[in-house]
Each structure stands twice: as C-alpha cells, then as structure tokens.
Amino acid sequence: MAHAAIDPLTLEVFWSRLIAVVNEQATSLIWSAFSPSVAEAGDISACVFDSRGYMIAQAVTGTPGHINSMARCIQHCLDAYPLETLEPGDVLITNDPWKTSGHLHDVTIVTPIFRDGRVVAFFGNICHLADIGGRPFSADARELYEEGLFIPITKLFMAGKPNEELLKIIRANVREPEAVVGDLHAMTAANDVGGERLLEFMDEFGLERIEPLADEVISRSERAMRDAIARLPDGVYRHQVTMDGYDQPVTLAVTVTVRGSDLFVDYDGTSPASDYGINVVMNYTEAYTTFGIKCALVPDVPNNEGSFRPVHITAPVGSILNCQPPAPVAGRHIIGQWLPSVVHGALAQAMPDRVLAEGSSNLWNTQFVGVDREGRPFTMLFFNSGGMGARPNKDGLSSTAFPSGVQGTPAEIVEARSPLMMVRREFRTDSGGPGKYRGGLGHWLVIRGVRAGKPYRFSPFFDRTNNPARGYLGGKSGAPGVYELSDGRRPNPKETIWVDPETDIVIGLPGGGGFGDPLERDPLAVRDDVLNELVSLERAREDYGVVLTADLEVDWDATARLRAARRAAAAGEGDADT
C-alpha cells in the first residue's frame, strides 16, 4: 500500500493508531513503575519520534515540562549518537538538565526502533526518579554538583546488554537503588512495548517508513497552529510578573510579537540566574511557554514538531530562564510553571476570551526527611496545589494543579507511610480572587510530625507569598500564600529547615485571580459562595457589592444601590485596578 498523498481517512486511522501506541507505552510504564513520585502522582510522559527526531505523537498523560523538553532531547541524542552509530538493542539514557527536562531527578530513556536493519523511529519517556543522590530534593544548592548524579547522554543498554558499569555508578550514588534501577528497567520495557506495537502497525499496512505519515501529521498541526496565530491581530504584547524568588524577587518579562502566522516570545528584561536552585534551562522555558500558548490557542491540536514550528522562543543567555552550567536547577519548576500565566498575560491583550487569570502557578512541593520514633528513616514527597485562575466564562478550579498535571496524595497514604499527621486540609475562605468569575480557592494544609523520633528536615518549594495571583479584566487578586510554623518562625519559603515533632507547619496555598469586574458577578453565585463559606459575608459586601439578609437571601434593592455607588466611586477614581 503506497501513500503518495495520504487521504484523510487513512491519516486519521494511522494517527489514532500512533496515539494508541504511545498510550500503550505510557500505560505499561505507569503500571510497572514504583517510585511514588512517578506512579502516585502520574508524573510521566511518553512519545514517539520519526527517524529524523521529529516528535509525532505523545501519550494522553504527561506533564508539559517533560513532553516538550523531550522533543528537544531527541536532537541532542542524535548529535551524540548519529543514526549510523546505533544498533538494535541500544538504549540511551540521560538526565542532562540542559538537554532534557531541566533537573537531575528527571531521567530520559530513548530507544531507537529498527526494522530491516534501519532505524525507523524512536520511543522516549521521562520519569521523576525517587532519588538521584546529592542533597535531598530541594532548592538550596548553589551549584549543580550538589544536586546529585549527572548522567550525560550515554548508553544504558548496548546491543541488548545492560551497561553494568553505569548501573554500578548509579546504584552507588542514590538513596533508593532498587527503586531507581527498577524504574530504569520499567522505562526501558515501556519503550520496547511501544516499539513492538509500532512495528506491527507498519507490517499491517505495509509501511516502509513513517516519515510520510509524520510529515502529514506535522504539516496539518503546523497549519492549525498557524491558522490560530493568524487569527490574532498582529502586534506586540508585553507583560511582566514579579515572583518571590529564593533570596530576592524575580522578574519575568515577556514580549509576544504576532506577525502573520508566526509568534515570537522573547523574555528580554527577565532577571538574571539565581544563586540558588530555582534556575530554568532553555528547554524547560520552551516547554512551558509552548504549553501556555497551546492551551490558549489550540488545545485540541496534538503536540508535535508542527505545533512548535510557528512559535519562536528566546531568552537572554544567563537569565533565570536560560541559565548556564553549573547553575543549580533542582527547583526549576517553581519558575517554569509560572510561564503559562506570563504568556497568558500578554495574550490576554489579544484574545481575552481564551486565557486564564493568574493562578497559584507552581506546585507547592513538600519534601520531608527524618526518622520515626523507632529510629527508622523516612522520606515523603507530595505535591500541593492552590487555586487556578478564573476563566472568561467560569470560576477557577479550587486546589487544582495548573499548569502541572500531577496529583495530590491522600492524607491517609501520607500518614500510613510516614510519621507525619495532616492536621487540616480545608479551603481558605476568601482566598479566591474576586471577579465576575471568581478565582479558585487555595486550602490550608497543616502538618505535624506527630510520630517523628526527633527533628526532621523539611524542604518547601513555595512562591506567591508576597506576590498574589492577579486577576484579569477587572478581576482582583487571589490571596497570597502563607507559610509559618506554630513555634513562631516564618522561614524562607524555599529553604530547607529542621522542624520539631510537636511543631505544626502551617501552609496556606494561594488562591487564583478573578476574571472580570466582581460587581458584575451574579448575586446568586455570591450568595452560594457565602452559604458555603467560600466567601465571607463581609467580603461579599466589600468585594462584590452584594448585600445578604440574615437568612442569607440576596437583598436585591440594597445590592443594586451598593453596586451603583461602588461604580460611581470607581468612575471617579479612574481605572485603578487591572
């Protein structure tokens, strides 16, 4: 069966099949991996590339920081090992932050797939491993060397034989060697599953090469992306946000230029690299930038080489978004996960109906290391998320990860697997930014090391304690994050500290920003929020101009009067809030 030009039916069949192939690859990985950060949180990614290294399809799972970074990683692999140097049974491995997804904990496995002695495709996947040596997972390092073992692009398997020398070094450097090496094998096996299915697919349809298919998929995706960009008015859109940073505030500045069907994103004006481990490599900057653009412009277009092509991303060398070795990078997600909202801030000027207001942004990771009362060591890592920004037509989601795609961990699992106790996990009243559509709420999270044997180490990855998520088009900011200890300390939200077992760690996750003027919010929606104690009676009046009776019914007349007065006052002051 030859395919000079692929007709739509054949293309759809082939494309669906490729997606089924990578989903199978991902499923195999999820079910056999056993690092908690991989499997409990669903933090993996899987995709297929053609022999030129163009990404064609990715699994429906996957986090943006991984998947787009891997699209770049494959080119680096080909530079290190050109096609003619690869043989069947070879498997490549790396965790080079600059060549893949930005920190040493993420390991990438790439497998070339051979057919009749020729490479026809590559399968790749990334997992966040349980440990990579060095310091416990934290943002404290001053140099990359402190953050763990660095594996340059090298062979994990050679012609089907494991590289035992490399495995020996890995085992000797990590805290949980069995889990880490076990996951490396699971990752390798997952690529094999994908490769096997791809070859079956090629046999079934008599395909010699997948490049024609790739070209078709890529060119259609590129066309869809270009169409979406072309619909935006040409222009230059600037936006800037300020973050807490580690030791000093960080500015992320963006200039988005729309010119025809090309979109240029430039981060000139962004702060220089930090002395601490919150720096972002260019790959990861590109990943989260592309992700933000795709969400807003073409959520249904698959992620591949084609959807990247019309988007051109640059950041000053040496800036916090394009840091250079040996800058420390372990906590790179803190910064990187802000980028979608930075880009949305610029795009909002061109397409306000397709973007979110600012949200909590980065995951609030909490990492604990210590011993329990019996003297047994424990480590516990889980992810926490504040509110998402409000949408142009809906409230923001409360306590929901965005842009990351990982999951939280149940309190009962945390307590069964560590000496920690979750004292409280409850929405923060009034934390959602007021707006016609309200920002999502953050929640209170209180942790006590109730069965810890002695003081334990706690590594937070928090931001937005000084810089709340801002609303759009008249929407107000969400509540900033809170981080304090019951012993009266208010530590740096990114610094590892020692905590006594009886001390409570009190965390208030930030709320998302609102969308549109809160005075336009449906009074019945405000009333529901008050009834459910998501918004207090006082804030309903102050922020939304809604007056409720003693039995929580809307006082329509009083509300109309109050809102009119508010509007008149605002008109007098001019547009103060944006």
Binding site: F34, A39, A189, R220, R223, F383, T400, E533, L534
Partner: protein, 700 residues
C-alpha cells in the same frame, strides 16, 4: 410441586428485558416491554405477566427472581437522591472536594470537576482523630456530637454519610457518632465509610459513602414495591439483586449498600458473555457491547469477567475519564467509550472526520429515523452501506430512511471533504471501528493481556454490525454472536452464583504482618458471608471461599490482586504469599520483581454458593427458509456494493454453515459478515464466525 422457574430481569433505559428459564427442561422464554420510568416496578410486572403467559405457568412456579437495574446510576446522574450531609474528621470536610488536586485534561482550560453530592454547607466536622495504626489521638466528645445532631436536624438533612480518617483501620469513632445521631435523628439514613468501603484513601471512600446513603431511600422504596408486585402476583419467590461485581445479593444487602448496584446492568451483560464462553469452551473472551450512545468492552478471563475495585459515575465533562465521581466498589471492569449507533460524525478543524462523543440518542435520533435528527450518525452510515435494512429495522416495526441518511452524510461529511457519499459513509463506519479497537487494545494492555488471544463476543444493537471489522482490526480470528442478543444480558442474571464480597484494609509489610489480626479479619468476613448464604438457602457444604489481597512493591502506586491461601495464616506461611505475589507480578509485567519489600493494603474474601446449572433451549424449533433474500452490501474488498445473501436468524439450525459475505438478521440486531468470514451455527444457536484467509475470497 417444587417451583421450577427462574427469572432474570434487566431494566434498561428504553426496554425492560426478561428471561424465564425452566430449570428442569432448560427451556427459556423472553419478554420485552417498555421501561416505565416513573415506577419501574410496573414495567417489571407487565414483563413478568407476558413471560408467564408464554411459559403457560402460574406465578407460584417462580423460584427466584434475579434483578439488575440502572436506577442507582440514574438517581445519581439526575441528582434525585436525598438531602445528604457529610460528617468528617475536624479539618477534612473539604477532602471530598479537594480530591486529588488534579486536571484530567492537560490542555483544556475549561474543564469542570465533579460536584460532591454533599455541598459544603452540608459538610460538618467532629473533633475526633485516629492515627494510621488505628490508635486514638483524640476521642469523640459526645456533647459535641449531640450539638451537631441539632444542627443537622435544623438543616433538614435526610441522609448522613460519616467518614473519619483511618476508619478503615478502626471503625469505633464512626460507630459511636452514628449511634448518637441515629438516636437523635430518627428516620434519617446513616452510612458509615468503614462499612460501605473499609479501604484507605479518604477521597474515594468519602465519595462512595456519600453516593451510597444518597440513593438509599429511593432504592429501598423501589425494592419494596418490586417485592410487593411479586407477592401480589402470587409469587413467594426470593428476590435477589445483581451487584456491579457480578455477584448476587439479598434485598437486605442491596438496601444497605445500594452503591454496590451501580453497574449491575453491564455486569449481567459480562456474565452472559462469560456464561456463553464457558458453555462453548471459550473461557477467555472479549465481550463487546455496542448500543445507542456508547460501546463497552470487557475481558472475560477463565470464565470470569475482570473485576475492578474502583470506577466513576456521572462524568460531567465530555465523558472524560476523571470528570466523574469515584466509586470504590467491586465492579465488572469495563472500558466505555462514546461510540454508539447514535454517535455523531463531524469534520474537525484539521479536515479530519471525528466520531462522537456527542450522540443523537433516541431523541432526536440519527438522521434516518426521521424524528428530527439531521446530523449524520454511525447508524446512518451503516444504513447507507447496506448493513441495515430500512424495511427490517427492529424487525420491521420502525421505518427508517436511507435518503435522509445519505443527505446528512453528503451535507456534513462528503461535500466538505470532497468525498463521495459512499466513501464518507465507509470512513465513518471504519473510524468508529478504529476507535473501539483502540479502546479495547488499551483495556487489554492495562491488564497485561494480548487482545488477539480473545474471541470477540458481540452484543447490543450495533455490536454485531461492527464486530467483524473490530475483530479484524484487533487481529482477533473468531467472533461469537449469541442467540437473542437483545435479551443477552438477562441470561447473565441466571448464570451467576450467589456471592458476597468483603474487604478490610490493614496495611502491613509482608515481613511484618501481624498474622493474628489478619486471621481474625478473615474469620470475621468469612463468617458473615457464610451466614448471609445460609439465610439465602445455600447449604454449608456448597459454600466456597476465595481469599485475595491487594499487594504491591513498597513505593508502587498500583496494587495487584494476589490469591491468598486458606486456613490459619502465620509467619511460616509468608513464603506462600510471597510466591503467589511473584507469580502474579511476573504474569503482569513479564519480568521478575525487583528486590524491594512487599506491602499489603487490603484483604479480600469472596464467599459464594454453587454455580447454577443452565442450558437453554428455544421453545419452538425453526421450520422455515434459512435464506430470506439478497441485497447489495458495501465491502471494500469488492471495490463497492456486492450482492450479499441475507439470512433469517430464527431459521438457522445447529450445524448450519456458510461463507461470508453474509447478512444475518434478527429483530434487535444485524450480523454483518465480511468476505473473510465463515459462519457456523453451534448447538447452542450461537453464530461462530471465523476470520481466515479461506472462505469467501473476493470474486468481483
């Protein structure tokens, strides 16, 4: 005379299906009436009268009625249950809404999360606390609970779910609080999470407990009416209810744990497949059911459907996985996708054809129904391709229009893409098959299975129309189409043994298990099961007990179900458990387990009665012509329409054999056999279609 009839009743969205079997002769009769949505018991009564008339037997001859219903699912989807409150551990009233802090779609910023059954203002806290080992950190203060009772009363609450942290380990606090509330709030239904689903993970447990108590009053009322109908008909039959897991329980259990009935309809369908598979020596099957809005696939292994411990109900956003309320309860494991006869085809922004998930349903229906639907559906494509006969739809009781189907496909698919109507129709047919095949493949791989090794069991109105091509895509060489697919699932009710599931969570590492505790847990669950079976009339010697445990490697998120040996357990038998784990692990992941400690999350028991004997015979043997005509049918192998013989399903006899291409019509469905197929009718009147290189090579 000893009563000899058993009755299976399935209440579906449109039809109430009934099958009646004479256990002495094996003769079966079927009846079908419209479902009476306002009071389903009325439709059941009608169907029962119809069935008894066919059988020529009085109601006293009924020994048992086994019943499945979508009532629970519908009550949740339509939010028709009681005003329900949640009572939680202090600090955790939002766990049910914070959920897993997760977006189920990566790129879609407009997704919605499922809404908990209890809104926040009906979620209350009690200042008690247990630790993970079940020890008491802070006891219950009765005075606080009494004050809470007053608040609940004032709020006008009709039902209460109590869900405390770590109650799976120690239910004492939940029981203590329930006792106080029950005393102060007579008539209010109360469910305890430790009783509904005693398993770790507070979000899923709470969601399940809420769903349970939310529908309890509706289910109780319905079951009472059903029982009354039976009594009024003069029957003293035992009324039994099918569980989502495919087990059967007493009315009493169904009233206490209605959440266990959510998938009872589909469970019967899977059991029907398992039954036919056992009957015909095919212990492994892929059951494939395609109806009007969705298609379901379910693996049958060793004569049993795969069972899952968690699923979702009420998906609120584009049928997406993750947008529903999680339910922790044993259930037939199935994958469901928005691909049915009514699924709408459209051209997307890339100029590609997409099918579903939107469905025309029965209102307005596919374009060919002429009931107001104008968008092209899968059924329209099937009609254009000649797979369906416009004059024999639902046995000729409903006229459908080929012209309307062509017009819709022409307007929305063919013209925009520059295709002929025929090409467009084939594309729709083919793509929906691809979608179903992909879903089935993923379903199989999630269980480490190779789907090619499983014969396809086709049911549902559209299942037999698409089975041939789906099998081809999956590399499956054999298709099984049961007789009377339209009531196929009610056979499942009669094929299932009486069985009760139990589960207790008690986390432990395998090398540190407190075996005395585990022995006590197993004893408790097994005694309860035996007692329930005894109450249902099962003699003790016919009871079988199957133990399993959910185990995993330390750090893994996914548990695997491992068989646990019977009898008294102890450290000297930990090796047996270890070997059982290793066997299951190797089967699933094709490699030896890494040298990591093993942990056990939950302990399970299935206590079941004997497998019922069931052999089916048609009341009247066929006497007429097998072949009822010929019509042009589209097969791409022939490059277009091909004159194809049409067979009458009701005239086929055991031993009949013919080559594809062929069409076999029965009232509720049509079997399409392509050119590579060879059809044989087995002794149970199943059509067995083998796909090979021989048989019906293209003659065009």
């Amino acid at each position: 005379m000893e009563p000899r009839l058993r009755v299976g009743i399935d209440i579906g969205g449109t039809f109430t299906d009934l099958i009646l079997v004479d256990d002495r002769s094996g003769t079966c009769w079927v009846a079908k009436t419209l479902t009476t949505a306002d009071d389903p018991a009325v439709g059941v009564r009608r169907a029962l009268l119809q069935g008894l008339e066919l059988a020529g037997a009085p109601a006293e001859q009924i020994r048992a009625v086994i019943h499945g219903t979508t009532l629970v699912t519908n009550a949740i989807i339509e939010r028709k249950g009681d005003k329900t409150a949640l009572v939680t551990t202090a600090g955790f009233r939002d766990a049910v809404e914070i959920a897993r802090e997760h977006r189920y779609d990566m790129y879609d910023i407009f997704i919605e999360r499922p809404k908990p059954i209890a809104p926040r203002h009906l979620r209350f806290e009690v200042n008690e606390r247990l630790l993970a080992d079940g020890s008491v950190y802070r006891p219950v203060d009765p005075a606080e609970v009494e004050a809470l009772a007053e608040r609940l009363r004032r709020a006008g609450v009709e039902a209460i779910a109590i869900c405390f942290l770590h109650s799976y380990r120690n239910p004492a606090h939940e029981r203590q609080v329930a006792a106080i509330l029950a005393e102060r709030l007579p008539g209010v239904r109360i469910s305890l999470s430790s009783e509904v689903v005693g398993e770790i993970r507070e979000y899923e447990r709470t969601s399940t407990t809420l769903a349970n108590v939310y529908v309890q009053r509706i289910v109780e009322g319905y079951l009472d009416r059903l029982q009354r109908e039976l009594t009024e008909l003069g029957s003293t039959a035992t009324l039994l209810i099918m569980l989502s897991s495919g087990g059967i329980c007493t009315v009493e259990t169904a009233r206490r744990f209605p959440v266990r009935l959510i998938e009872s309809g589909p469970a019967a369908g899977a059991l029907a497949a398992a039954y036919v598979g056992r009957l015909t020596g095919r212990p492994n099957l892929l059951a494939f059911d395609m109806g009007g809005t969705t298609a379901k696939a379910c693996l049958i292994e060793q004569g049993r459907p795969l069972i899952t411990t968690e699923f979702e109900v009420d998906r609120v956003y584009r049928f997406k996985k993750g947008s529903g309320l999680p339910i922790k309860a044993s259930s037939i494991e199935l994958i469901e996708i928005g691909a049915g006869g009514g699924s709408i085809a459209h051209v997307d922004q890339f100029g590609l054809i997409k099918i579903g998930p939107d469905s025309a349903g029965s209102q307005p229906g596919p374009a060919c129904y002429g009931l107001g639907g104008t968008r092209p559906t899968v059924t329209d494509a099937d009609l254009v391709l000649g797979y369906l006969d416009p004059d024999f739809f639902l046995g000729g009781t409903m006229q459908i229009s080929r012209e309307a189907a062509e017009e819709a496909i022409e307007r929305e698919i063919a013209r925009p893409l520059g295709l002929s109507v025929l090409e467009a129709a084939w594309s729709i047919h083919h793509l929906v098959n691809e979608n179903m095949a992909s879903a089935a493949r993923i379903h199989a791989v999630e269980h480490g299975k190779d789907v090619r090794a499983y014969p396809l069991f086709a049911s549902g109105g559209a299942g037999p129309v698409h089975a041939y091509r789906v099998a081809e895509l999956l590399g499956i060489r054999e298709i099984l189409c049961p007789f009377a697919a339209g009531v196929g699932s009610s056979i499942g009710f009669l094929a299932a043994p009486l069985a009760f599931d139990f589960v207790r969570s008690a986390y432990a590492r395998l090398d540190q298990v407190d075996w005395d505790t585990i022995n006590a847990l197993y004893r408790e669950m097994e005694d309860e099961g035996r007692q329930l079976l005894a109450e249902s009339g099962v003699p003790p010697e016919q009871v079988s007990v199957t133990r399993t445990a959910d185990m995993r490697l330390l750090g893994q998120a996914h548990e695997i179900r491992v068989p646990i040996p019977g009898g008294e357990l102890g450290p000297q038998r930990a090796g047996e458990v270890l070997r059982a784990f290793e066997t299951v692990y190797r089967d699933l992941y094709k490699r030896a387990r890494p040298g990591v400690p093993i942990e056990i999350m939950s302990w399970r028991v299935l206590v079941s009665g004997p497998q019922p004997e069931l052999t089916l015979r048609q009341p009247e043997p066929p006497v007429g012509e097998r072949r009822k005509g010929q019509r042009p049918v589209y097969f791409p192998e022939f490059g277009g329409f091909h004159p194809t013989p049409v067979y009458d399903r009701y005239q086929l006899r055991p031993g009949d054999c013919f080559d594809g291409p062929a069409i076999i019509e029965e009232r509720e469905s049509t079997v399409v056999v392509g050119p590579r197929g060879r059809v044989a009718v087995d002794q149970h009147l199943n059509l067995v279609i083998r796909l090979g290189d021989g048989g019906g090579s293209p003659r065009a």
